[in-house]
């Protein structure tokens, strides 16, 4: 079998990632499956499936170089007690490495041609490597690391290799004790110190003020300065423990037991944070694209974060988020993530948990639509994919716009799709979810009867305005005609039937106008989706209207001219996010304005059924500095008691996010910041990473 390379993790361009090259020695033709399995199980399924490397997998390209040796197994050497060679048995292997099993000879050594063979293989197969992992087809334990390489045997477990990666990739020091006293100066490594002064301790920001310093004193100490708190976590709670760097005394480590101490625990707070800071640039992670969802059906909103070609999901426990799933490049099935993937969250199979529809019309030579569902262990996998088209739609196109709604009332959410840009006429499609796939059941070409022609700038809004459990459509067009129009289209489950069309005005509104913005929500709690309409552009003052659905049409319930009491004056760039904030079954509005005033304002407009009562907070929500870059996702991360009738879920909370920051804001009874994260979501036992 000729030599080759397989890129088993494609995280991105080599110059924007770190590149791990894996080379095997002593794997003959018949051993290649053994080699592949070892790499899969130990590297991907071990090191990169746990704690730090799982979380930041998107920083790493991994290349498996498939070198075929002429013989199986590697050369062997034995040493006499005085260090002289007792015997050598050479084998004809790709790299010519020699295993000795002798600790004092690094367990293994290079043969005469090994360095050249490694260099040649790297130059040919992974010319821009950062780190090299060399695997010997040798069942005995042992390994030798350093200088950007780690040499291991198939007898080594992943935790040993993860410890070695702590040195080789993290620059971390050993935290275990062996013998003797440390007598030198301050170590350069981030996880060891000789400093016992709390105020200047290099990991002092992670030490709770109530924790004694030092926390453990004496020979390779545990917590022995006072009583160890019952909630103390030996791996994550940070203090100052004597012993580390192989020495018993005179030097201190940050936690009782880290992966850099005994291999099996996760990296401690200090080592984890050091890794995160080192490789954050290479992950490509940002908080720009976040989607609220409930992946486990516990009633609490989780979050899906999409960055480039990776996704992560974090689960809410009511007060914080924890990483559940991290996928780089693809999920099984397969869906390959790209920067312009668009995600649509909904319970598409009716199991009470959210799934993800994903569409990409930009990054590939053809558009793709996929459906991702629970993989049974907290992750996602592809269950259906449509390449370029779904039968009946006539071809996906770049500007297809998708909307989630259960239009046939079977408890499984479906998709409406609209395209007003890519064809000679606009189209609307109804893609019915069958639980694990979609079927295009209806397509409207250029018109939905009664609408008088779909047009390029039609804007679709989904809501069950008829109250029959089927998601209907509102369509607004303020651009393409001589006047603005609103249409109401009731879903029959397989078709759309227009029940009302408003030409230029909805009675009481005083005239539909070009920049009217529609927000759908059942503001009176009667089970029928109503409409809020806002206009900040076309009149001498901003207006907000509340239009109640009669089931077939709209009746104005209230119009606010220039202000909603308590908001302090509407302004041109007010934005709204419909959500049932107080859990009474009526859809309220979060309001947001960052452009029209000297400071930014976030507001709550609570619906009384036919009117609104507003309140707001300015500039800051706790530690969250409100700003123009902020984006909001109404959600319910607290879960629990707030659950209005008719199965609808209240959304009293907000996820707020921008490039670097992610926040959890409680919206009821007033705004309060629950949690704030910078660059990555991690719940430190004490302290923070900024």
């Amino acid at each position: 079998m000729p030599d080759s390379v397989t890129q088993i993790r494609n995280a991105g361009p080599v110059g924007s990632k770190r590149n791990l090259a894996i080379l095997g020695d002593g794997f003959a033709d018949a051993d290649q499956t053994t080699y592949n399995n070892w790499v899969q199980n130990t590297v991907l399924g071990g090191v990169f499936a746990n704690d730090y490397f799982y979380e930041d997998g998107s920083a790493w390209n991994i290349f498996r170089v498939n070198l075929t040796s002429n013989t199986s197994g590697v050369s062997q050497r034995t040493y006499n007690a005085d260090g002289t060679i007792a015997s050598t048995t050479l084998k004809d292997t790709a790299l010519g490495m020699i295993f000795s099993g002798s600790w004092s000879h690094c367990w293994m050594e290079y043969g005469t041609g090994t360095e050249t063979a490694i260099q040649n293989a790297l130059k040919k197969w992974v010319p821009d490597y950062d780190f090299v992992l060399i695997i010997l087809n040798e069942p005995g334990y042992g390994g030798c690391g350093g200088g950007g390489r780690a040499h291991v045997t198939t007898g080594d477990g992943w935790t040993v290799i993860a410890h070695e990666f702590g040195h080789g990739l993290g620059g971390l020091a050993d935290e275990y004790c062996n013998s003797g006293a440390y007598t030198s100066g301050e170590p350069g490594a981030v996880d060891l110190t000789v400093n016992t002064d709390r105020s200047t301790l290099k990991w002092g920001n992670f030490v709770d003020p109530t924790t004694p310093i030092p926390t453990g004193s004496g020979n390779c100490s545990d917590y022995n300065q006072g009583t160890k708190p019952a909630t103390w976590d030996d791996n994550q709670d940070v203090g100052l423990f004597e012993g580390g760097g192989t020495k018993n005394t005179g030097i201190y480590r940050p936690v009782i037991n880290c992966r850099m101490n005994s291999n099996t625990p996760p990296y401690c707070t200090i080592c984890y944070t050091s890794f995160k800071r080192q490789y954050d640039t290479y992950t490509g992670h940002t908080f720009l694209r976040c989607y609220a969802s409930d992946f486990n059906g516990d009633g609490r909103s989780d979050v899906l974060v999409h960055s480039g070609n990776s996704i992560q999901t974090f689960r809410s426990n009511g007060s914080q988020l924890d990483l559940i799933f991290s996928a780089v490049e693809r999920v099984p099935g397969s869906w390959q993530f790209q920067p312009n993937d668009q995600f649509f969250i909904g319970d598409f199979n009716g199991d009470g948990k959210d799934e993800v529809a994903v569409f990409n019309g930009v990054d590939w030579i053809m558009p793709y639509l996929g459906l991702l569902e629970d993989d049974g262990s907290g992750g996602l996998r592809l269950t259906a994919r449509y390449d370029g088209d779904i039968p009946g739609w006539g071809g996906f196109a770049k500007n297809d716009l998708f909307y989630v709604g259960d239009f046939n009332g079977d408890g499984k959410q479906d998709l409406f799709v609209f395209n007003g840009a890519d064809w000679s006429m606009p189209y609307v499609g109804m893609l019915r979810s069958n639980g694990s796939s979609f079927t295009c059941i209806e397509r409207f070409d250029g018109d939905i009867p009664g609408w008088g022609g779909l047009a390029k700038n039609d804007k679709l809004y989904v809501g069950d305005y008829s109250g029959n459990g089927k998601a209907d459509l509102f369509i607004f067009n303020g651009d393409d005609w001589s006047m603005a129009y609103v249409g109401m289209f009731r879903s029959t489950g397989t078709d759309l039937q227009m029940t009302a069309r408003y030409d230029g005005d909805i009675p009481g509104w005083g005239g539909l106008a070009r920049h009217d913005k529609l927000y759908v929500g059942d503001f009176n709690g009667d089970g029928k989706a109503d409409l809020y309409i806002f206009n900040g552009d076309d009149w001498s003052m901003p207006y907000l209207g509340m239009f109640r659905s009669t089931g077939t049409g709209l009746q104005m319930a209230h119009r606010y001219d220039g202000d909603v009491p308590g908001w302090g004056g509407m302004a041109r760039h007010d934005q709204f996010f419909p959500a049932d904030i107080n859990g009474d079954g009526k859809t309220d509005l979060f309001a947001w304005n960052f452009e029209d005033w000297v400071t930014e304002y976030l507001g709550r407009m609570i619906s009384g059924g036919s009117s609104l009562t507003a309140s707001f907070i300015g500039d800051w929500v706790g530690e969250w500095n409100l700003g123009a870059v902020d984006r909001f996702e109404p959600c319910n991360f607290q879960g629990g008691t707030i659950r209005p009738p008719r199965g609808a879920r209240g959304k009293p909370d907000l996820f707020v996010h921008n490039q670097d920051w992610f926040g959890m804001i409680r919206g009821n009874p007033g705004f309060a910041l629950q949690k704030i994260y910078y660059r990555w979501i991690h719940n430190y036992r004490y302290g923070r990473n900024w």
Binding site: V190, W364, S436, P449, G453, D503, G510, G511
Partner: protein, 235 residues
């Protein structure tokens, strides 16, 4: 600049005549499809589908046809630097890599290199582990083997990346590659814009330095780029 002069909305109970703009009003039925971009482009005729569908495959073939994201010619040079027993350093090899190159925002680890031309930084990066080999701990061995056995290397090599355009435009005799040892790490060490020896006088110690990069060692792609720049320079 004129101020916006906009009307007030009529009262909610006032009769409204919708303000009309340019263009047609909607009729009862859709107008005929319009040609856009010169071509009448319609979807194929929709057909009603049977409700039963073939079972989805267990696994779909990979998506194909990813559009190119790196612009042609964008890339960097990877230089292999050898540090000898006497501490002297030299560039021993190089090759061109076609890829975008990320400039790290912070430094960390046990070693850091910086490539400069005068006061201008061309690139820097951190090297967590260099110049030493460690035997793995022997968990079942005698006490002395329950730790790493360390071997310091007399000579060692490391890799340096430089954006191809920058090194092609540089005066090669003024390009300096400096390798630093991290004597004292701080929790956060931003790369900043000043040379490292200015920013981190206390934390870093110079270990080796290459002064000037020989043109002949640069990969062909960069030599071509340099040639083109010289030609355009004369004009």
């Amino acid at each position: 600049m004129s101020e916006r002069s906009l009307p007030e909305k009529p009262a909610t109970d006032a009769p409204v005549s919708p303000a009309k703009g340019k263009g047609a009003s909607k009729g009862k039925v859709a107008p005929r499809p319009q040609r856009i971009r010169g071509t009448l482009r319609l979807k194929t005729k929709a057909t009603k589908l049977a409700t039963s569908q073939a079972a989805a495959p267990e696994r779909y073939a990979d998506q194909t046809g990813l559009k190119r994201t790196t612009s042609r010619g964008e890339g960097y040079v990877r230089l292999r630097v050898r540090v000898g027993e006497d501490g002297g350093a030299s560039v021993v090899d190089s090759h061109f890599v076609e890829s975008t190159l990320v400039q790290p925002s912070a430094i960390f680890g046990n070693f850091v290199y910086e490539v400069t031309e005068g006061d201008k930084r061309l690139h820097l990066d951190s090297i967590p582990d260099l110049g030493v080999f460690r035997s793995f701990v022997n968990p079942e061995g005698p006490l002395e083997e329950r730790q790493h056995h360390m071997y310091e290397l007399k000579t060692y090599e490391f890799d340096v990346r430089v954006p191809a355009r920058d090194i092609a435009a540089a005066v090669l005799s003024k390009v300096v590659i400096t390798l630093y040892r991290m004597k004292e790490a701080r929790a956060a060490m931003p790369a900043g814009i000043q040379p490292l020896h200015v920013q981190y006088q206390r934390e870093l110690r110079e270990v080796a330095r290459v002064e000037g990069v020989p043109a002949k060692i640069l990969p062909e792609a960069v030599q071509r780029l340099r040639g083109n720049q010289k030609l355009s320079g004369r004009k």
